[in-house]
Amino acid sequence: MSDAIAIDALTKIYGERAVVDAISLSVPSSSVFGFLGPNGSGKTTTIKMLCGLVHPSAGRATVNGYDVVTQSDLVRRSIGYMAQGFALYGDLTVDENLEFYTRAYGLGARGRERKDAVIETVGIGRYRHYLGAQLSGGWQRRLALAAALIHDPPLVFLDEPTAGIDPVARRDLWDLLFRLTAQGKTFFVTTHYMDEAERCSSLAYIYEGRLLAKGSPEEIRELQEVTPRGSVRYTIATDEVMDVFRRVRSIEGIRDATIFGRDIHVVVDASMTALALAGALRLDPSRVSPVEPSLEDAFVMLTRSRLQDERAS
């Protein structure tokens, strides 16, 4: 299986700051690749470089085998791009929006057929004559996806495709993406939702422009930094989260504590048993149990260990 994207030490510097700092990655074909990181970590800039919208300051990248700098024209023809938010026209109908993109890609005689095909794919047929602005958030994203697919590109970039849409529409959109990967499409997706990240075939996590981890969700959860040698992870179920959280942090041997809703995930020295932890917190022992790291645990730990490294240096 060839790689849809190959990135080698890609860097973008604005002023003094490296917004994207020597990232290297490869994205296999026919997969959903998750690109994660906090806001402002350089995700959108990376996507823009891969789409040929922003010139890299250093490093190189190929997309569908084309160099993003020297062959940006071929890159653009071979990719779809779905920008953040609703980046189509609210004052044009679904049909007119797609007609515009059909013409923008110069599809000519094939245009009609392609338009019908993408309308069928995303299932937006019954809204064909609605204005873009009249659609719900979920349908707007589907329309944007249809536009991104109009020229039948093998690879589509989706920048936070599910931000701000309801959970059902979110799930539907992801199901649609998986159906399309089965037909050979590759998706490069940014997201903040961990359940979406879990569904990706592989992931990359960037923080302040630097790549902190890459691999499948399992591989990332099993990284050394996520559960350091000589430590163990427990989950504490409690109704007084803030109170327990305050107490947890003053316990000897505690390495990390993070709140997940009504649970607190803690990383402690391996010598501490669940029973000992419950005792130290004056909680019922049934409240404390060992837990596998979630992806969110993994990203929190990766970010913290990066921050510690920075402070140390």
Partner: protein, 371 residues
């Protein structure tokens, strides 16, 4: 720089833009209608004191009576003699080209006729383009005949008269002045505003990035955006010409084809300015404020509303900085005075130079701003 020549996708953008324009015809109607109403109000409401009207003199008599008349003329607040010409045709062309508003023709033997009491007449031509000026100039010119000639004494009181003829707009209707000015304003204001808003709108809504990943070329995007507004401006131009001709009853004295060609050339200026604003402004509100910043001084000093020759000197000079000034001079020249290229070439060259420079600079900025 080959991005400047990449026209791909222009057709797609034109398609989209026209659909979007047609989607809100009310906005468009408002955009075209509001300035018209404004101008009608302005046109009827404004009254200015008429002083320092530029005048030309053709002096066929060297005698002291002629000199005394000229002294009286230069001493008056109403007229400023800015030109002395050598023949009658030059007198006429000084008016047609718009350099002066009034011309005096002192006949041969004027002094002799005055001395002999033959009551000679000084001919006067008045440019009727601006009815307010024409009316005052008409009255003042006739009154010059009743003024005693200072420094010139014969036995009897010298007798002569001034016979003014109002050219181009003999009935001195105000519409003939302000309607051509209205055309200039309408052609400028709407075009600047609409182009700036259309492009900034894409930036603001985030749709520009989505466009830039398509194979649409930069020039394709730019011209795709501009051409629909050229069409809008064309419709507008026809509409104001029809209103002018059939509602205000202002005939077009000059060449209609020339008028159209010059107006198309002027679009370079307003599209360029609109494009320029779009490269600076980040939001539609900013774009609107910047447009007003450009439009307001041009309304005031271009001569669209207020006659330029009546303005204080610094204002008149400031007018030359504004491209609309040249266009309005050309409009009045062609429509009211029937002027052609021979009389108006200076303004035409200035306007075209402005247009080309504005447009090219704006295009370069636009190309940079989309990279």
């Amino acid at each position: 720089m080959n991005a400047l020549l990449d026209f791909r996708g222009a057709g797609a953008v034109i398609y989209k833009e026209l659909r979007q324009i047609m989607r809100s015809p009310f906005t468009l109607a408002l955009a075209i209608g509001v300035p018209m109403v404004q101008m009608l109000l302005l046109g009827y409401a404004i009254n200015t004191t008429v002083e320092h009207v530029p005048a030309a003199v053709f002096r066929e008599d060297r005698g002291p009576a002629a000199q005394a008349f000229i002294d009286g003329l230069t001493g008056s607040r109403t007229f400023d003699v800015v030109e002395y010409v050598g023949d009658r045709n030059a007198l006429r062309s000084a008016i047609v080209s718009g350099r002066v508003r009034v011309a005096f023709d002192i006949p041969p033997n004027f002094t002799a006729d005055v001395v002999a009491g033959r009551n000679p007449a000084i001919g006067s031509l008045i440019d009727g383009s601006d009815s307010a000026i024409a009316q005052v100039a008409y009255g003042s010119a006739i009154a010059l005949g009743g003024i005693p000639l200072r420094n010139f004494t014969t036995g009897a009181i010298p007798q002569f008269e001034v016979r003014p003829i109002v050219m181009f707009n003999p009935s001195m209707r105000s519409a003939n002045f302000f309607v051509p000015g209205l055309i200039g304003l309408v052609m400028q204001n709407i075009t600047i505003m609409l182009t700036a808003l259309a492009i900034v709108g894409e930036r603001e809504r985030g749709t520009l990035d989505q466009l830039l990943v398509t194979p649409i070329g930069t020039a394709g995007l730019m011209f795709g955006k501009l051409i629909p507004y050229v069409l809008v401006a064309g419709v507008q131009f026809c509409a104001v010409l029809l209103v002018m001709r059939f509602i205000f009853q202002v005939p077009i004295a000059g060449n209609l084809a020339l008028l159209t060609a010059v107006s198309l050339a002027f679009l370079l200026v307003s599209l360029g300015l609109g494009l320029f604003i779009s490269t600076v402004a980040q939001t539609q509100i900013q774009a609107q404020l910047m447009a007003i910043f450009i439009l307001l001084p041009s309304v005031l000093v271009s001569g669209a509303v207020f006659e330029r020759s009546l303005m204080p000197e610094p204002m008149q000079l400031f007018g030359y900085v504004i491209p609309l000034t040249y266009y309005i001079e050309i409009l009045r020249g062609i429509i009211v005075r029937g002027a052609g290229i021979a009389e108006l070439w200076r303004s035409m060259v200035a306007m075209l130079a402005y247009g080309v420079i504005t447009f090219v600079l704006a295009s370069i900025r636009f190309v940079r701003s989309t990279r």
